[in-house]
């Protein structure tokens, strides 16, 4: 098996794990959100890679391109929606972080939990 031929999948796995690690292990809420965004990007990359057809062009309809090979548009459409969801999640998450910062004066998870326990 050609390892370099699977370059996209390696990047996918590495990005996914970096994002996963950041979401789980980092205490800073902003860093957690960055990890979430990385995780999402990894999933986008996987889907786009799966939909790629070797030698295929962009899936744009044109009358002259009869019989041309083009990449599968379905994963691209799915990911377009997923990107929108990603933006929304990031915006909402950052909004919540801003409110938490105003209430607690901190965005470190352990400090916030400590304050809650008191």
């Amino acid at each position: 098996m050609d390892i370099l031929g699977l370059f996209n999948y390696w990047v996918f796995a590495i990005l996914l794990m970096i994002g996963f690690y950041a979401v789980l292990a980092k205490k800073n809420l902003i860093k957690k959100l960055i990890g979430l965004a990385l995780f999402q990007s990894a999933v986008f990359l996987l889907y786009i890679t799966v939909g790629k057809v070797k030698g295929g062009t962009a899936p744009i309809f044109s009358a002259t391109a009869e019989g041309d090979v083009f990449s599968n548009p379905l994963p691209q459409v799915l990911i377009l929606t997923a990107i929108v969801v990603g933006i929304s999640v990031t915006a909402l998450g950052l909004g919540i972080v801003v409110r938490i910062r105003e209430e607690y004066g901190s965005i470190e998870e352990d400090e916030i939990l400590e304050m809650d326990r008191q």
């Binding site: 929606t81 929108v84 929304s88 909402l92 409110r99």
Partner: protein, 171 residues
């Protein structure tokens, strides 16, 4: 698009309308923008019209090629955010006031839904463009353009409203 719309409503609920905190004298103190810096101002003034023009191109070309309402809305919002960064938030809110932004958010979503339900009233499915006109192709073109316009308006309004909600916070 409705995801972004919902997120925009959520952010506005979380952060308020952006007018809650900033009192008048604080606004005049902080909202100067980058006006005293020559290079960003000149480059920005050159770029902003073309960014918005490109956004409109993506909007109206979306029927035939890559592009469409969401991307166009994001590009136009980016141009207006650049204006807000250069001239200060107050000027940006004079150009597109908060009320207009809220109207855009709701109006685009309403336009989208109206076109969908109009198709149902004419005997098709929800968002069935073919029945909008006697000519099927014409009806589809009309439907796509209207839908994309709705999406573009909502996305522009929502992204700008989110930006202003965040920007008004550190006043």
């Amino acid at each position: 698009m409705f995801v972004v719309f919902t997120a925009g409503i959520g952010v506005l609920f979380l952060l308020g309308h952006g007018r809650v905190r900033g009192t008048l004298e604080e606004e005049t103190r902080t909202n100067e923008g980058l006006r005293h810096y020559l290079i960003p101002r000149v480059v920005g003034q050159l770029l902003i019209p073309f960014i918005i023009l490109f956004g409109l191109y993506v909007q109206f070309h979306g029927e035939y090629g890559p592009g469409g309402g969401f991307q166009a809305g994001a590009i136009i919002a980016a141009g207006l955010i650049l204006y807000a960064l250069l001239e200060g938030e107050k000027h940006a809110l004079n150009v597109v006031p908060q009320k207009v932004l809220l109207g855009m958010m709701a109006g685009g979503a309403i336009l989208y839904t109206t076109v969908g339900i109009f198709g149902m009233l004419l005997g098709g499915n929800f968002l069935d463009y073919s029945v909008l006109s006697d000519n099927t192709v014409k009806g589809q073109q009309m439907g796509i353009i209207l839908i994309e316009a709705g999406v573009g308006i909502t996305v522009t309004g929502t992204l700008l409203a989110i930006f202003h909600a965040f920007a008004a916070r550190d006043n």
